[in-house]
């Protein structure tokens, strides 16, 4: 199997493997999600109507207030969370929420805009401890 390796900053959480869901848009658990049904609910979001459950979400940046710091933990507790988050730039709140939820999070990719480096459907291995994402497309 061919693989391509993307380097990023050291992130939060443990190594995880999954399928990417990508958009050039931002992320807030409070404003963008229907957390009960596990889909993007804000009509203006590029992923409106898409399920994020067990996906590796690849988006631009964090937005909004502090609520996401609690919400990721609550989503993980019900098994209705993404598998990991990859961003160009996280803010403090998203990092704090990922740490509480033990949800893998990486940002600051060396090769530029991560939403252009990864496509929806790509199989990924995310390793936040060394700051590395591998694309496993055969």
């Amino acid at each position: 199997m061919m693989s391509r390796v993307l380097k990023c900053h050291v992130g939060i959480g443990s190594k995880v493997e999954g399928v990417a869901l990508v958009a050039d848009d931002n992320f807030s658990a409070r404003y963008d999600l229907d957390r009960l049904s596990g889909v993007f609910s804000r009509p203006q979001h590029a992923l409106a109507g898409e399920s994020y459950v067990d996906k590796i979400l690849v988006l631009n940046t964090a937005k909004g207030g502090v609520a996401t710091a609690w919400m990721l933990y609550e989503m993980v507790s019900r098994g209705m969370a993404p598998k990991a988050l990859l961003l160009n730039s996280a803010n403090t709140i998203l990092a704090q929420g990922a740490a509480l939820a033990e949800l893998p999070l990486c940002d600051r990719f060396e090769d530029g805009d991560v939403t252009g480096l990864i496509n929806t459907g790509d199989q990924l291995i995310v390793d936040p401890e060394i700051g590395q994402v591998s694309l496993m497309n055969g």
Binding site: V66, M71, N91, A95
Partner: protein, 413 residues
Amino acid sequence: MKLTSKAQALAAGEFGPARQWAIEHQQQIGRMFDAADMVEVSQAHMMADPESIGLAGVELVEGFAALPEAERRVVVPMITDPRGVDLNYYDPLGQTEAMADLERRFIFACRAMGIVMTNTCINYQTVMPPVRGEHVAYGDTGVVIYSNSFCGARSNFEGGPSALAAGLTGLTPRYGLHLDENRVATKRFVVEKQPEELTEWGVLGAVIGKRAGSYWEVPVVEGIERVPTSDEAKHMGAAMASYGSTPLFHIVGVTPECDSLADVEGGDLPVESITGRELAELRGSFGAVGEKVDVVVFAAPQLSLVEMQSVAALCRGRTKHKDTSMLVCTPASVYVDAEAAGYIEDIENFGARVLQGTCFYQQYAREIGEANGWIRLLSNSTKIVNILGGYGYKPALASMTECVDSAVAGKIV
């Protein structure tokens, strides 16, 4: 990250599992943001409404609260952001017993940990404003931006879990706004039209926040001809943080770290003008004159005693329209003073309701909107109209005077 011997002992679990969880949480954050070490904080402020924390978050905090006293109590003064349920007034709003129970359990657990339930997002007006150079761990973006910008204190946005961790360790990772180099200006704005009342200060903050666009940008603002009042500064900061995730800004000649542009290294930055037209456009996007209004909301941030006085004066001797509701959110400490001054009576005789210790958008806004049939919402808060579009409302923005006049008319004046 370098840890003191005390912090190492916390990490080794010598002070119990809650403090061990806390320092491990902080180590993860510190590593992600390249913190060299920890800094001691003097206060913590936790955002934790039940809609956000959910059952899982309440159970986490209950687990800490069940530990022996020496292991569960916070080690620095720690206070709370608004609650999601006013336990004296929730059924009439359409909030359920399940919501109230979650709130009661959380309050009980917090008290066992020694957390003071101030339930306020204006602690810099009502509890204990931080001083210049003081390192704190504050939640609520409005609290952080005011404290950094107008008090000269040092805080990152600390979400609920991180504020809790800071309360348990007395520390926070030294990154972001705890460091001098991240407090210098990165964007320079010149204001061409002077803001006058609260909503205009909010709109100005919103436009700057939108243009700044990220947590890691620090705007410096020139051209402000009048020192804002605390309430005007509050609305400006809250809106900027809401639209831009901005945690710090400077106003030349006003905020304490910026007597001159040189103080914040802003002299060489390109100048961006904020025109009257741009302000009018943002405000106009929330205009709906002539439309029926379902609910008028004064909140986000909670009202100070001075704002309560102003609302009361507008309400006195008048009655709201029967088909329009009006809610006013203030902390319990302000409520007591407002009651003694007769303001609560003025507002409630008008037909409005004053809620204690909540803030409208943090109190299951979607559910209470659906329960009451509220769609068209009017407020003087530029922050709240930004948030509530995602909660099924059609929000509109007007000055405090226009809001009360609209509540009387039943339509937006």
